[in-house]
Subunit: 542 residues, 2 copies
Amino acid sequence: MNRAIERALRQVRGTSIVAGSGSAPGARAPRFRSHSPWNPQRALPIEFVAATARDVSDAAGAADRAFRADALADGAKRGALLRTIAEELEARRPDVLTLGVRETGLSRKRLGGEFDRMVGQARMFAAEAEDGSWVRAVIDPAAPGGPDVRRMLIPLGPAAVFGASNFPLAYGVMGGDSASALASGCPVVAKNHPAHPATGELIGRACAAAVVRVGLPEGVFQLLHSGGATDLDVGRWLVEDPRIRAVGFTGSRAGGEALAALGAARRNGHAEPDPIPVFAEMGSANPVVVTERAAAARGEAIAAELAKSILGSTGQMCTCPGLIFVPGAAARGFFDRLSARLRAPRRARAMLTPRIAAHYHDRLAALRRSGCAEASTPEATGSAAARGAPALVRVRGADVLGRAEAWDEVFGPAAVVVECDDAAPLSRLRGALVGSVYFEPEDETDPAFVALVRALAAKTGRLVCNGVPTGVRVCRAMVHGGPYPATNVPWTSAVGASAMERWCRPLCWQAAPPTLLPPELRPDNPLGIERTVNGNASRGGA
Amino acid sequence: MNRAIERALRQVRGTSIVAGSGSAPGARAPRFRSHSPWNPQRALPIEFVAATARDVSDAAGAADRAFRADALADGAKRGALLRTIAEELEARRPDVLTLGVRETGLSRKRLGGEFDRMVGQARMFAAEAEDGSWVRAVIDPAAPGGPDVRRMLIPLGPAAVFGASNFPLAYGVMGGDSASALASGCPVVAKNHPAHPATGELIGRACAAAVVRVGLPEGVFQLLHSGGATDLDVGRWLVEDPRIRAVGFTGSRAGGEALAALGAARRNGHAEPDPIPVFAEMGSANPVVVTERAAAARGEAIAAELAKSILGSTGQMCTCPGLIFVPGAAARGFFDRLSARLRAPRRARAMLTPRIAAHYHDRLAALRRSGCAEASTPEATGSAAARGAPALVRVRGADVLGRAEAWDEVFGPAAVVVECDDAAPLSRLRGALVGSVYFEPEDETDPAFVALVRALAAKTGRLVCNGVPTGVRVCRAMVHGGPYPATNVPWTSAVGASAMERWCRPLCWQAAPPTLLPPELRPDNPLGIERTVNGNASRGGA
């Protein structure tokens, strides 16, 4: 073990971060280790203790108390918390990256970019909380038509956030879900991903330090370790706790569906049905369409761009190109060009976990066995497989129309080139996070192309023109979501300011005196937020 | 049968309104009648034909074709449609009211107000569609930080709307659900409520005439009759049709839960899971809190106000007062005052259906048998029961804490006075559409009162100060929704401009050329809508 890892690990205790829990972990809690993605035999010299049912209940209770005590009611305070979290994280940047590289197999460069996104989005949400206009205050003053009515978004309560395996920082325990939940006023109980427990805990310690620094109760942010025999239990205990009011998840379809089912079947403390929203972003086989004109004019350049997008992070991104539709005549040439460029990076990388590597190869093998594969790059085996050797499969559009296995995500550095005689195969597309379309200016006025773009838009949350689907700009206009099965909540986005709205519901006050109203709705608009008054935007009083 | 009914019925054919279906209804379709709520033996002299599975499929197909053909893509056209619908409805006002009174037992005065609301909200949604800003366009132009990203709400596709029994107009086949769906660009297939088939069909004929007048395809609005043996089937066929993309429902909890389960378990045409959102507004036992000060200062006036609210429309409103919390010392006096005022109106009215009347009396009887009733008004029997005789029950807060039967809605002109020694019973409240609180100015600074208001806000979608919960102002700020079980989608409102957002999801375009962008997102902002550009509201170009 090198010195950098040693130093970073000194800040990691192997225990969950639960408010008021200073005692040693129970003897019966399962222990687990952080294994190297390169070599499952090698583990970090630290034992992690999985959270017990008691830990989960304690954390939910502390989060609930913090919420009821209005700890996060003030937007300025929420902004301060998120800015302090960003600072505390930045103070630990080298250590977080060191542990992240060691636990995930992702490159330091990639994780560096992801780190910047993690702190950048925390600050973006801080700014939204500070400005306060995000609550969508709408005011219809009393009129002959009716009483004074004022509405705004209010936070639901404690949120459970499940960190993703493939984005340990930007979608991890202080990723977009946690930051947006805190920004909207919901305390967070984060479940760390068992594949990178040290990285997650270090981030969690930074957040907990920030909570103390700004003088908030510890229940505002807590972290649970899970792994070993009770890995699935920790998640279940958390989602089923009556004090948890919403859940954020980024990961596999199976995982998302299971949590959504738990959320829907929940009972409250009186054994009555008590469903809560589960926001599951479950990945997708993202479509890329290359028009005949684009393939002819710049097939080589497009292939180069897509190869980079497929190979980045060993293909372990939910926005990776999945199904590349190329018109019949151009398809073979395009396949050859793209497969020639799909070379593994010089410095070999491992996939995130042995399980993900195995799953990658199983999915590829099934696709090749399905009978619809016309051609494919050689199948990697052994250590090349574990390292996520790139793969490309070519199929004919007509052949895959009825084959479900062709339309599901292959999580890893692989893509499927679909040779299309017409737009029919696009009709079989399932909901996707993102779609890309490569075209030439002449295409823009071609009715068939316009129809194609429309078909693609109907199946995606984001439509990229002449660019790769990977790379998500963190901005207000971003939609990181999409029709089922990409997500179970197509009316939300996991990225951008609107992500805060997920953790809320609208409440309206009718004929309320100013003293009872929250500041956002008071006639004097003390926060100076933008509100819709009688249908018009205004930062004035009303 | 009087002449007014005869004249009105001449416009009713007894058949569903399905695009392109000019043929006679199939021999195997069940027939049913419209029975009088006053006397189940008396029926209107017309036979209604329930929609067949084929009718449902034809309607969904026509709606889907209209959607794909962009029939409703233009906001000005949608506005024109809704304004023409309002006109066509107004031309039939006396006939709609005549049939409505005859089929529902509600008063002409009440239905007149509801009629005005129906056409008023259609025009409100028309104005929203015409203005176009409701799509929440957000634009982040290209910057060193990333590509040009533009988002807006897009309609999901054909919507199924289930008309409510208790609001045949404002929540009927052209109620808020249908009007908001059309305004957002979703064709509507409405299922008429079997308790008022003639009223619903007449409204449907008016809407269909409007569709023709503005030159839109018939698939834009269609109406299905259901009743008799296949009543539940029609709803199921509709929700399960793969071309239906969202569902609106107002009615009982059992009905809403059943539809939501169907929507979640759906399969598409390829037998793959294909869940769609079901927006179910399921009613609630709405809480009313009267403080000690308010009871002392103006108990009589409050009782008078609440009595009127309980009795209106024979108590058949989802916003009726349900549980009235009164401090211990004042509770008995308040109960006596309120029960003295709970006299049925001079002109006796029937409940909507014999089934609703039976259910009303079963619920009341169960409550009285539960052992927590301290006192209650005499139980009505026979014809008084069918007419929905008012009832008031008094219980002690401590007694009802553990009794589920005390916390569920009693649909009818009844309320429960809960004698409270402290705020503990409020903790057991279930989610409600609306809560009311009666207080005096001195209460506003009393921390116990502030805590109470907060507890009430946490369980409701709308909080009314010193007023009755009934009466929903149709305005932008209104929230008609609330935590489960009042609705299954607490983040939505069924009333007000935001109701349009339910039928949509966000889509974002990345680096798209102006020719491909919808007008709402084009750089020149041809519609002049309000958009958020780089975080600031603007009606200019970007």
